[in-house]
Subunit: 134 residues, 2 copies
DNA sequence: CTATTTACATATTGACATAGTAGGTAAATA
DNA sequence: TATTTACCTACTATGTCAATATGTAAATAG
């Protein structure tokens, strides 16, 4: 299940994309529009900054803005950055201890196929494809 | 992420399928073959019984067996029974409070599409397709 | 140079789920 | 009657999620 971190991050990115060209957008505005606690969004936004997806400027007139144009972000890279690597099962998570049963696990190929499907789906979607009518 | 409940349930089903025609299979045997605590498997197996996927017989010579042939189970129905309804985000989980933002949520269609993809994938796989070489 | 606005940082918390374990009872067979 | 098996209830350690609380630093307006 995708957590609020990934979902809110995506909504922040969409919000910033929809207000492109308006200079830096204060997090307060995003929080109000999206109906999400600003305090919680700070945590999420910090990770987006660290990932190099957005930049922030302090002080009056400051706020956040995208680093690229919306068409240059994939949903997959945003989600994976926030949620960690896409992995349907623990044994396929990066950094997991290698499973001793991997060679004859009857279900492993199933999870691998599903993870590929998931990755293809989310990396095939771009931020620009999520922008609303507004 | 699929939890051990769903993953182990699938492995139990596969194990029983691979020993079809050998009468009732004691859980002890399954636990040993799969390298999973028998005590924990009891919890999982109870749910499989309640779901009507397998039946158990007590006493000497007892154990578990499938109710249908392996080709008549989909992976999806097994997983959904163990893990709860397939839903990538909380707002799409059955029993979730209806989200007031649903009508203009820019990300909702994304999650809906992904959930459809996921359902199609797992309901398109049958237990018979997971049986090993043995 | 002071007040205000904004980003940026660290620590803590309550609630809940996961992944089991412990210790039994009931049923069936040898 | 002893043994084997399923079946049942309760408990627990650990971790994650979704925040909140309480700051500090930076930039601008006046």
């Amino acid at each position: 299940m995708i957590t609020t971190k990934g979902r809110y991050a995506l909504r922040v990115m969409i919000d910033l994309a929809e207000h492109e060209g308006e200079g830096h957008i204060p997090l307060k505005d995003v929080a109000e529009r999206q109906g999400i606690s600003k305090k919680y969004l700070e945590i999420i936004v910090r990770e987006l900054v660290n990932a190099g997806f957005i930049t922030g400027v302090s002080g009056k007139g400051g706020g956040y803005r995208l680093c690229r144009s919306p068409g240059e972000y994939t949903v997959g890279e945003i989600l994976e950055r926030m949620e960690g690597p896409i992995a349907s099962v623990a044994c396929l998570a990066s950094g997991a201890a290698p499973c001793p049963r991997a060679s004859d696990c009857a279900t492993l190929p199933l999870w691998e196929e599903y993870d590929r499907l998931t990755r293809d789906f989310f990396y095939g979607k771009r931020l620009s494809g999520l922008l609303g009518k507004g």
